[in-house]
């Protein structure tokens, strides 16, 4: 046909003109129209070399700005290897390996779109490679695509039926999809495999629990814990089973042991995958997890590992110093903090903690200097204000102390430690009852679970000489609430006072007698004071004014070095 067309179009008529000249371009147009429509190219920009390989898709180039330098370099190197293999027209398996390695790196750093495409390319090039198929299955599972995960696990399993760790993961995915019988079969298949027993028993225990076969669940989960005592997550599931059969006390015991570690699965392939995640940040994240578990020793180790890779990370150095201090290495902590502030002179937290260490060592001039440096950088630093307030309070400069405490609370109204000494400083500096009232109301509002503030508020309302503030009935109401919550001597004392200022001396005396009986042996000093007050009530008199103002708790607080190292908030710990 085409030969006829071209021969026909090539003919010239008797005049030498080619009357059929239009046929060739027409034919070409028809061929184009008959060709399949071009698909839109949806792929993200990628190295041009990818496009030379038909069947492969371009791998998106993700942003990696927030990763550490070492990790970025590894990703770039892995991607360069892919490009090199493409350009050298490497054999399919070799090219697949470069895609697979790059995909694994993307996966561990949660760059899922890029990981997915790498694995797809690797499998397209080397479909019988177990590792890429398995990683792709694991990736699907970890990104929540369970039906796809099951499909891929089955494909991978066909390639390597003897790899039993895969069976546990397949079972987990089947369980997730409510394929309980299939999941059970899979778990049972590996229940005797070394390194997989606990995970299999855990899965079987979960199935039994779902099916309300509680005794079986208890048996499986208990055995799983015996095999893997570090799998602290099992405690919670076991607690559920125990609770369901009314073994509530044992359930509570298990709940108290609950942790975050799932049963281990001995899986060299996935271990190898996870080991690809390195870099300083990985260690810092582990350190923070350890801190959340209150395991400062482990945190210290992880920070050290991370700093070995990023030795000039001033923020991480401060966090490391905190763990050193909390594990008994105060001197080393000081050295590290000094290095941190040398690297980053505006490191406010580092300077503050150095102040704490100096104060702990008795060098108040040095500590004051550090706190002042903090305030120059951050005028609203609650911690620096608080510790300066304490310093001045001990120096009996109560006005200066009150100023700093006020600023600490202005910066952070939840800085609970500051309220009591602030009140003390206010009282000793002759502040008005109005100021005291406002402070106590704030404290009660922010910390309703701390009765001390309501107790002091009740005292103030009962004893204030300011008629605008004196409110004996409100004082009584508050005191009654306090005693209802906790019938302890300080609350009883306040209640007695409230009765007395309301003219109910008999009741005041009765209540105070009870308080006195409770402290008579254990707190002789307090007992003496209460005894004198009781005598006044029995004569239907109020205690002397100065006694009323002898509020027992308003003294400069004892120095606390541990608190800031343990609890002072750091928005960015590394």
């Amino acid at each position: 046909m085409s030969g006829t067309i071209f021969r026909t179009t090539a003919q010239h008529n008797a005049d030498g003109k080619n009357e059929k000249w239009f046929l060739t371009p027409l034919f070409l147009i028809l061929c184009l129209l008959a060709a399949p429509p071009l698909l839109a190219d949806d792929s993200v920009a990628a190295p041009p070399a990818d496009r030379d390989k038909p069947g492969l898709q371009a791998v998106p180039l993700p942003k990696t700005d927030n990763l550490d330098e070492e990790t970025r370099a590894r990703l770039e190197e892995a991607r360069a290897q892919v490009n090199a293999a493409l350009q050298e027209r490497a054999a399919a398996r070799e090219l697949a390996a470069t895609y697979g390695e790059l995909g694994a790196l993307y996966q561990v750093y949660a760059l899922h779109r890029s990981a997915e495409q790498c694995y797809a390319n690797a499998i397209a090039l080397d479909p019988d490679n177990f590792r890429w198929n398995y990683y792709a299955a694991y990736h699907a599972a970890s990104t929540g695509r369970m039906p796809l995960a099951v499909q891929r696990y089955r494909q991978a399993r066909a390639l390597k039926p003897a790899y039993k760790a895969l069976v546990v993961r397949l079972a987990d995915a089947l369980l997730d999809l409510n394929e309980l019988d299939s999941a059970r079969t899979a778990y049972e298949e590996v229940i005797s495999e070394t390194g997989l027993e606990a995970a299999a028993l855990y899965g079987l225990g979960q199935i039994a629990l779902l099916q309300r076969d509680y005794e079986t669940a208890i048996a499986h989960l208990t055995r799983a814990l015996e095999l893997d005592p570090a799998a602290t997550r099992i405690h919670y599931v076991l607690a559920q089973a125990l609770r369901a059969v009314q073994r509530t006390t044992e359930a509570r015991t298990q709940l108290a042991l609950r942790g975050d570690v799932l049963p281990a699965i001995r899986d060299p392939q996935i271990e190898s995958l996870m080991a690809m995640k390195s870099g300083a940040h990985v260690h810092f994240i582990r350190a923070m997890k350890a801190i959340n578990r209150h395991d400062h020793n482990a945190a210290r180790g992880h920070f050290a590992d991370g700093l070995a890779r990023e030795p000039d990370n001033a923020i991480a150095l401060v966090s490391y110093a905190r763990t050193l201090y909390l594990t008994g290495e105060a001197s080393e902590a000081r050295t590290i903090l000094e290095r941190a502030v040398t690297l980053k002179p505006d490191n406010v937290l580092g300077l503050f903690l150095l102040g704490i260490l100096a104060e702990e060592g008795g060098d108040t001039a040095r500590s004051t200097d550090y706190y002042q440096r903090v305030l120059k950088l951050e005028p609203a630093h609650a911690g620096a204000h608080y510790y300066l307030g304490n310093h001045y309070f001990r120096q009996q400069d109560t006005r200066q102390a009150a100023t700093h405490y006020r600023q600490a609370l202005a910066a952070d109204a939840r800085y609970s430690a500051a309220y009591i000494p602030y009140l003390g400083a206010l009282i000793h500096s002759g502040a008005s009852d109005g100021t005291l009232l406002e402070t106590l109301r704030d404290a009660s509002h922010y910390f309703p679970e701390q009765p001390i503030y309501r107790s002091l508020l009740a005292r103030l309302l009962a004893t204030s000489r300011d008629p605008q503030i004196y409110a004996p009935q409100d004082a009584l109401r508050l005191a009654e609430q306090l005693v209802e919550e906790q019938r302890i001597p300080p609350h009883l004392e306040v209640l007695a006072l409230a009765f007395a200022v309301n003219g109910r001396f008999a009741q005041a005396a009765t209540i105070l007698e009870e308080a006195l009986m409770r402290v008579a042996w254990s707190m002789p000093g307090v007992a003496t004071r209460l005894g004198a007050t009781l005598a006044a009530y029995q004569e239907e008199k109020l205690p002397a004014a100065e006694e009323l103002q002898d509020w027992p708790v308003i003294q400069p607080p004892a120095f606390d070095g541990q608190g800031p190292f343990r609890n002072y908030p750091a928005a960015r710990p590394y």
Binding site: I5, N66, Y109, T143, R145, R258
Partner: protein
């Protein structure tokens, strides 16, 4: 000269061939052009609009018999025709601050006592020091009884600008008018309803909370059974712009991202006891709802939703609190003014693996029409939603989301609003969830995630089905991907079935009318006394065809939302009701005669 015919014949043959060829060419050309045109036109027609579609994988559905197939129901987006022109303002200026992603709530309420459901939509505002212009406000829409709304925000006194989060409705002062409490990033607001005019009485009532609080869920309940409505307020995390920027949360591949709650300190919830005469007392500590970490002393909770229900039937209302990334709470009411937190012991604190989830929305229901209570919780992306269920009517709860088919289908979606309701009126409570991600660019790094996601509807197939909750594929306009947040239901057009509102963060709220035409019977029970202490917390039981259904009278459900006060029973093909009873919060049981179905019965206490 005679021509040589042998040389002419080939030319004739070729002429025939040429003729045939030209004709064939013409036909081919016509066909090809026609085909190309058809292809081009059909490609244009199916080209997706410029909205992202979510790829949310469905459940593994076994081959269904006709009886086990969700009925065809269409929800129609009537936002425009209903007159709902509300657009949520989240104050985003590109800093990716956490509050920008959380959205705000919605409430159906009868604010003007005309027996239909009006709609209140909560709004936020700017987060920087410069005020947003024009100032966004809350929005109140009055229903004409037929599902058409008019904006009555100004005239009702609700043109209030605040960084609003959630809403609670209830008649706290027992004057017969529905009052409203708005939670916020900052101080909350109590609005007393004076015959259709709202007045800010927050200061007098002493229920503002702290300026540093980030309040979310709220509910009016009578926790101490003293016949007045008290107020529970859930608080989220300790947040400020400074803290958020310092933390500088990053997602690899995206850069700065919306902060994760596990980087922020938790806060404690508040319980306000109604003292009468418009005054409340903060009894949070004495009531035992303060939960602090025993080691650090810091608050543990990060509340986003609350579901009040008397789960143990002792006559005292309990509180289920959904916390984001930390354990959920169950505050068990001890009946003496105090609560005990026992979430872990009762099995609702964690998922089946003992892990805390990113819990956002919550609802409770007797979805099996048995004594077993179910607690549905909407969780984060790549976390199954939870469905905690009692066994034989007793705690502890077990997470049966997998067994009921709901879990696997909900895993990929990021769920906020969630509630039980009987959308097809067959007598079994179905499940609805509003979905939407936090990150507008999430699809760049996670191909299985999208910012806008379709809502999901799960049909309750009943006891005979292997998977009780079947994902409904055809839902009409409900399948449109949205950046969904709060969700609430009401019968806005008084046709017996339940319609839905979904709020979006930084976008327009959508109203969906239920256009089911399945012919099932129904009965709605309304309450003449309104949402006061004598009504909220009541339990309504209806028996028809041998099946007893139960409903709690409780507007607080879902995420930051309030549903309508009346309760709806689907009756399927049953044209009569065997028994209808109301157990009021004070324990009295009232039998209600039902003479006919497919109507609203209004009941009053003591009548």
């Amino acid at each position: 000269m005679k021509q040589d015919n042998s040389s002419i014949q080939p030319y004739r043959g070729e002429a025939v061939i040429r003729t045939v060829f030209y004709r064939s060419l013409g036909v081919i050309l016509v066909i090809a052009l026609g085909g190309a045109g058809l292809w081009y036109l059909s490609r244009e027609a199916t080209k997706p609009e410029a909205i992202e579609e979510a790829v949310v994988s469905g459940p593994v559905i076994e081959t269904a018999t006709p009886l086990h197939t969700p009925p065809a129901v269409a929800f129609t987006d009537i936002t425009d025709e209903a007159g709902i022109d509300f657009v949520h303002v989240n104050g985003s200026r590109g800093e990716k601050l956490m509050p920008e992603a959380m959205g705000s709530g919605a409430a159906f309420l009868d604010y003007d006592n005309d027996a239909d459901q009006d709609l209140l939509l909560v709004n936020a505002t700017g987060l920087s020091e410069q005020p947003q212009q024009p100032a966004p406000t809350l929005a109140l829409y009055r229903n004409d009884g037929h599902g058409r709304f008019s904006n009555v925000t100004e005239e009702s006194g609700l043109a209030i600008t605040t960084y609003g989060m959630g809403v609670a409705v209830g008649d706290y002062d027992a004057d017969g008018w529905t009052d409203v409490y708005i939670t916020a990033l900052g101080e909350n607001i109590l609005l007393r309803n004076n015959a259709g005019q709202f007045v800010d009485v927050t200061a007098a009532a002493q229920v503002a909370g702290l300026a540093s609080d980030w309040s979310t869920a709220a509910t009016f309940i009578d926790y101490d059974n003293d016949q007045d409505l008290d107020l529970f307020v859930g608080n989220y995390v300790l947040w400020s712009r400074k803290i958020d920027l310092e933390i500088d949360f990053q997602l690899t591949g995206l850069g700065r991202a919306i902060g994760a709650p596990n980087h922020f300190t938790g806060t404690n919830n508040r319980l306000y006891r109604n003292e009468g005469n418009g005054l409340f007392s903060d009894v949070s500590h004495t009531a035992g709802i303060v939960v602090n970490d025993p080691v650090s002393g810091l608050p543990e909770g990060k509340a986003l939703a609350v579901a009040p229900v008397d789960y143990d039937g002792d006559g005292w209302i309990d509180l289920f609190v959904a916390n984001d990334t930390v354990r959920n709470f169950l505050f068990h009411n001890l009946g003496n003014g105090r609560f005990e937190e026992i979430g872990a012991l009762e099995g609702i604190a964690f998922d089946r693996n003992g892990k805390a989830t990113g819990a956002m929305g919550i609802d409770t229901a007797y979805f099996r029409n048995s004594d077993d209570l179910g607690i549905g919780i909407g969780n984060f992306a790549n976390e199954m939603n939870s469905l905690f269920v009692t066994a034989d009517g007793q705690a502890p709860f077990a997470d049966e989301a997998i067994l009921e088919g709901f879990g696997p289908a909900s895993r990929l979606a990021l769920t906020f609003g969630l509630f039980f309701f009987d959308y097809d009126l067959d007598g079994r409570l179905d499940l609805f969830q509003a979905n939407g991600h936090l990150e507008s660019e999430i699809n760049v790094v996670q191909p299985s995630q999208h910012y806008a996601q379709p809502a999901q509807l799960f049909w309750n197939c009943g006891d005979d089905c292997r998977n009780r909750f079947l994902h409904v594929e055809e839902t009409g306009a409900l399948a449109t991907p949205l950046v969904g947040r709060a969700a609430a239901y009401a019968d806005i057009d008084n046709d017996g079935d339940l319609d839905i509102v979904i709020t979006q963060v930084g976008r327009r709220a959508r109203l969906f009318r239920n256009d089911q035409q399945l012919g099932n019977h129904w009965l709605r029970v309304a309450f003449a006394d309104g949402p006061g202490a004598g009504v909220i917390g009541a339990r309504v039981e209806l028996t028809a065809g041998g099946i007893t259904q139960r409903r709690h009278v409780m507007p607080t459900r879902s995420y930051l939302s309030q549903v309508e006060l009346p309760v709806t029973f689907g009756l399927g093909r049953n044209a009569q009701v065997d028994r209808l009873s109301v157990t009021w919060p004070d324990g009295r049981v009232q039998e209600i005669p039902v003479k006919a179905v497919d109507r609203v019965i209004t009941v009053s206490r003591g009548h």
